[in-house]
């Protein structure tokens, strides 16, 4: 197995994500860790609530992984995404990519997170002191 994809309502374990992609052939591991920020456009964010259409989200993440393996000489690739309520500083997403050389690892990792944000059916709601908003829903 060279790809590990998971959607979970439990805290993501960053170190074990990194350990999982490590191989003796790897010359570099690129890791993207998404974190919950405390403000949006100057407004205080209390927490985020993530919801996923799980079977489809897994399928879309598998497609992204397959594309990354086609485009770059990736050794192992991991995508973990949280659901549920996350407080400021918590981690909604971890992407980890191992390659023999760093250029491919950087590029593949960026491709995976950028594409995930465009195609994977997961939604986040920002909860403010005076209300809440589904992110990106409206123009």
């Amino acid at each position: 197995m060279t790809t590990q994809i998971k959607i979970s309502d439990q805290p993501l374990e960053i170190q074990s994500c990194i350990d999982w992609v490590m191989t003796p052939q790897s010359g570099g591991i690129d890791v993207f860790i998404g974190t919950v920020r405390n403000s949006t456009k100057g407004k205080k964010v209390l927490r985020l609530e993530f919801e996923a259409y799980e079977p489809m989200a897994i399928k879309e993440m598998e497609k992204i992984a397959a594309l990354a393996f086609e485009k770059w000489p990736v050794q192992k690739l991991l995508i973990h995404h949280r659901t549920g309520t996350l407080e400021v500083g918590e981690v909604p997403v971890v992407i980890a990519v191992s390659c023999a050389h760093r250029d491919a690892a950087f590029e593949a990792c960026r491709f995976v997170i950028d594409t995930l944000k465009q195609t994977v059916p997961i939604w986040k709601k920002e909860v403010f002191e005076d209300g809440e908003t589904w992110v990106a829903a409206h123009p």
């Binding site: 919801e51 079977p55 489809m56 909604p92 465009q118 939604w123 986040k124 709601k125 589904w134 409206h138």
Partner: protein, 79 residues
């Protein structure tokens, strides 16, 4: 045709729940969207939305059957 439509994110708020049953004329994604937009005009205020059929993004011309799993996919915002 008769269809159960799943809703997520803001679409769940707009439809008033995680799924609805619809009986509508026609059998394509476009037919379904026009009925949905008629019944739930707030869908038209979204930046965009897609329909997924059996966990794949569908085109307007995709033909639906009663056995399909159909879902409304409002703009995604994971990560």
């Amino acid at each position: 045709m008769k269809a159960i439509v799943l809703a997520f994110g803001i679409a769940k708020d707009i439809l008033g729940g995680p799924d609805i049953t619809l009986d509508f004329p026609g059998n394509t994604t476009a037919d379904l969207k026009s009925v949905l937009e008629n019944q739930f005009p707030r869908l038209k205020q979204l930046r965009s939305y897609m329909v997924a059929v059996n966990n794949e993004y569908a085109q307007d011309c995709t033909v639906l059957t009663e056995a399909d799993e159909i879902a409304i996919i409002p703009p995604v915002s994971g990560g």
